[in-house]
Homo-oligomer: 209 residues x 4
């Protein structure tokens, strides 16, 4: 699906306001105003508020899937190194698409079988399969331990990053980083998170620290 300039403006504004106020808390009026388009355009282009949310998801998730699959199939990189690349990718993705990921976190709290829930589920399933394959490869090659709970491991990756992103102002306060610029802070968190998670994963996957 390709969108014109106005449609993209709507999608971006929707992403921002959905992230900030939630689906119900963000009105199509506000989104239209933020995007500087006529209110009726949203229904006109996307059909409904729900369909707009789906468009936001579709727009942000299409590029994500391929990356992981390509990485797994690359035979020139060791499996632990692949894991480390994956961690860095994940951290980066979260940091640079904070708004979208806030929407995802929110949507996962809803237990209804919405089309968006289906999209998220599929995305996570595909990802999980790739990671499982990666772990099995590592186990076959002797790099990784046996008996690794991949789901739990991924929960730690996703959960830790989500938590830091969600609570970044708290993180700043706890570590006296209130005066850092946003850019500096992102750089700082990126480094810290990367090291922290790589250490954890090494400990989970391999036999020594």
């Amino acid at each position: 699906m390709e969108y014109n300039e106005k449609q993209l403006a709507i999608i971006n504004s929707a992403e921002k306001l959905f992230a900030l106020n939630g689906f119900d808390g963000a009105s199509v009026r506000d989104i239209a105003h933020e995007a500087c388009v006529n209110l009726a355009m949203i229904s006109y282009y996307f059909g409904s508020k729900e369909k707009l949310m789906e468009a936001v998801f579709e727009q942000r998730t299409t590029k994500i899937r391929l990356k992981v699959e390509n990485l797994i199939q690359d035979t020139s990189i060791g499996n632990l190194e692949k894991v480390n690349i994956l961690i860095d990718d994940y951290v980066d993705k979260f940091i640079h698409q904070q708004e979208f990921h806030k929407i995802m976190l929110r949507e996962q709290l809803i237990e209804k079988n919405t089309p968006i829930a289906a999209l998220i589920h599929e995305l996570k399933k595909k990802n999980m399969e790739s990671i499982k394959k990666l772990v099995m490869d590592g186990q076959k090659s002797g790099e990784f331990k046996k008996n690794i709970d991949v789901t739990l491991m991924m929960s730690t990756l996703v959960g830790t990053v989500s938590n830091i992103i969600t609570c970044q102002s708290f993180y700043r306060e706890m570590n006296n980083l209130e005066n850092m610029t946003e850019i500096e802070f992102q750089k700082h968190v990126r480094k810290k998170l990367s090291t922290h998670l790589k250490n954890i994963f090494k400990s989970i996957l391999t036999n020594e620290g």
Copy 2:
């Protein structure tokens, strides 16, 4: 603050629907209907929808704080063991108050300075201070390593548990546990999460695996 039966029914229904649909997605009508009380009772007892949300928080958080502080001060337990108890407490709390914690996760996504945001902030700050003290005690006694990023460590604890709770149906699917009863599943997850987190914390805090 003590609540009568009807007030508690309202609080419980509110907790459930706020968790399920978010603050804006849950209407006071639905909450009143769920609690089998007249619509006007909610305003009558709590003043407003916002105040009801605050009552939900107040009701759930008052008991939490003391536990951690008491644990820290107990001199009969080793520091690593204290950490393990803390992990088990945390996992249990999340599992048994899933709905409330979903509300907390949601509220933290909002960046506004609501009274509830203040309550959450205070709770987290107090908790963090206790944990920091615990880690320092462990470092003084030589049990724990130097240079431990407590904030990151706690993010891993909270984030991992949150993620598992949020995505429990996905977790069931990934591990072929769809047919487990809710009780069995909780027991299973409790054990798994506990072991997983204790391993991670041991690796973070101490020098060997």
Copy 3:
């Protein structure tokens, strides 16, 4: 009808708030709060908000009627002097029962046949008959002119006083009396109004100025 202390407190509070906010604008909650009585007491004592309004009227109007009738029948006073006494009475009544008269002004704007409208109507009718008799007496004695439109004359009396009372802050401003105390101002207005109206009535009723 005799009222106990609480009932009188309610009536007084009702008078104040009805005058300030109108019948619909004053809630029974506010009245109960102002009177420091339980909300349910109002329905309990007076039956309904409407009945409370009637009680306010009944309480304030019972004493008024007699005065005029007695004055008319007094044979020791000249008719023009009677008119002057009447004017002074009227001015005083308005000044000292401002709140109640504001309610009356408001009620007369409503064209519905409420019980209160009937009370007001009866009061005005009785009054008007007395005045008509007074004017006829004066005409018979030769003190007053023929062809006097008593209704119009009374409209000028009532209308002028009402207008001054209603717009007293405007009157203060126009005459640079903003710094006068309430008591001083009432005294001032009383004198001014009295003279003004007596002059007008003399001009209407008699043949020279």
Copy 4:
């Protein structure tokens, strides 16, 4: 500000119902029904019930101010004649805009500093200044007496007319005019009021009757 047909229908219905029931007594639902428009249109066009009231005022008061000012500046008319024209204008205005003037009377009973109170205040102030100038002109030319209380004089004008308008059914009854048509009655009252007030003003302003 120019209004379309629907907006004018809303304003007219609002004027009618505000006059009849007061601001609080007239619901936007009733106004919408009276104007045969959808309930939401009122918020859509005017923003709120209060803003609608302001629109009613704005719509009715814009044309009024100029008239008086132009009259004062006309050098071809004597000052007493100007006063008489003013009286006729005033009487006419009240008779033909009864509903709006009832709203004004009501609003002046409220002592809050609403935007409408400000509008009324400004209107009255401007008017009063013009009249003061007119009286001073008359005094300079020797037509009028010295020591004239313009505020009281205007209170008599406005108050008398207000009272007659407010109590017109009582006036009909007192003068046995119940069977007159509305038009005939207006004509009758107009004539009576005009003469009555002109006499009073002559007596107030000049030295003989």
